[in-house]
Symmetry: C2
Amino acid sequence: MAMETSIWHKIHEDAEKWIREAGALLKKAIAGPLDVQTKASPDDLVTNMDKEIERFFIERIRAAYPGHRIVSEEGYGDEVNADEGVIWLLDPIDGTMNFVHQKRHFAVSVGVYENGVGRVGLIYDVMADDLYHVVRGDGAYYNETRLELLDEGRLDTAVLSINGTWLNRNRRIDPEIVRTIARRARGTRSYGSAAIELAYVAAGRLDAYLTMRLAPWDYGAGLILIEEVGGVISHVDGRELNLLKGGSLLVGKKGVHREISQVIRQAIADGLYVEGQ
Amino acid sequence: MAMETSIWHKIHEDAEKWIREAGALLKKAIAGPLDVQTKASPDDLVTNMDKEIERFFIERIRAAYPGHRIVSEEGYGDEVNADEGVIWLLDPIDGTMNFVHQKRHFAVSVGVYENGVGRVGLIYDVMADDLYHVVRGDGAYYNETRLELLDEGRLDTAVLSINGTWLNRNRRIDPEIVRTIARRARGTRSYGSAAIELAYVAAGRLDAYLTMRLAPWDYGAGLILIEEVGGVISHVDGRELNLLKGGSLLVGKKGVHREISQVIRQAIADGLYVEGQ
């Protein structure tokens, strides 16, 4: 039996408090005299901040919600093999490369699921101070503004988010498929943070987002936002996503998602390579 | 003979005032009830706002600086065939598609040149309220923060801005060249506003930016910012840029620029296609 509605609002409230505290810690790390981070061994320091923020969340979640399990990028969470009970999908810093190189365009992402159903999602674009958040059934929000339901959309007037990796030679998809999709669209963008790109899809700023490799913590919050505004979610060929397995991801407005997934299914039928087929 | 220094500070002051007023007009246009813009015929309305902002600037420039000439995107400026005297390169909205689709990630760009030498440059990322600005010789700034000189950089740890168009089949460059460059870099991004991408290079957030097609108003301000922090500017193969002609553009940290332009020159020597060769 599902828990009462109020628990999700309580979780939303707590998660928002923690995510803003985490944002303050990240801002401090960036602004401080430890600017050495970008010069010497940037990846190390990011790992340190990733770990620090992840531990920050895990301590608070365990104290407030001892029965909940946590799946997180740096691995301080729990071993979770099934989507039973309440699970927090946590990415302390989504967009690591942006964090190091740009000191912006990174996000903290927190998604809470109950028996596989998304309940509460928050994506915090730290440097922009933009919070995208949702309690399932109560609407998705960009800060204080309620996000509208996505319209149908169509590929030839769509702006897509696709990382250049997938237009290039790679191990996961024949790039000719992705190039065909990109040519049919009005334009493409790439921001380097899956969480921000998913939030943009929810906010209607991107018509679809396609990627060949994401983990549960990357999309945990974003999928709940997108579901709430009527966007469509699947693997790139339209197959249903397994929440805890990850893999390829295609999200977008209904019409745009349909056109893109059709191109991919046709390419697979024509013998082109797509991972997972 | 060059004019006195103080005139450039006066121009900077005026341009900043006007650019912020223009930003307020654009914000109003976006926030207003005329949201129909995104639905019916988005390109028309953008054209209207482009024209409105361009006229706004031209009126003010002509009143304050009657001897100056103006080169601008919508064509209300002057016929200018040589870079003699003082020229304003003006883009009222850089990132038109973002303006329509995202209501963010667009910029107003103003660059002032004297006898072909960049003197004053301002790029205003309207929705972020971020101003990148420079008076030649007095340092480049991101809002109140002085930008540091760019370090040498190297391609294998670089984040590049490259629109997916150039990784795809196109008329201006053999995409295999650009794909090779992208694979050697740490990552690629694409934001859909050349002015913002140039400002990011100046601010050290991107290590280089490569594009096959830009006009003087797109890069007028950005080049002055990048010159001020020691970045390198040329066509993609390293040839010198003609300010008023436009074409392909490669800007970046010295070492990254050198590695990329070498790849392109080698590809040309190998018989691959690059426009302008």
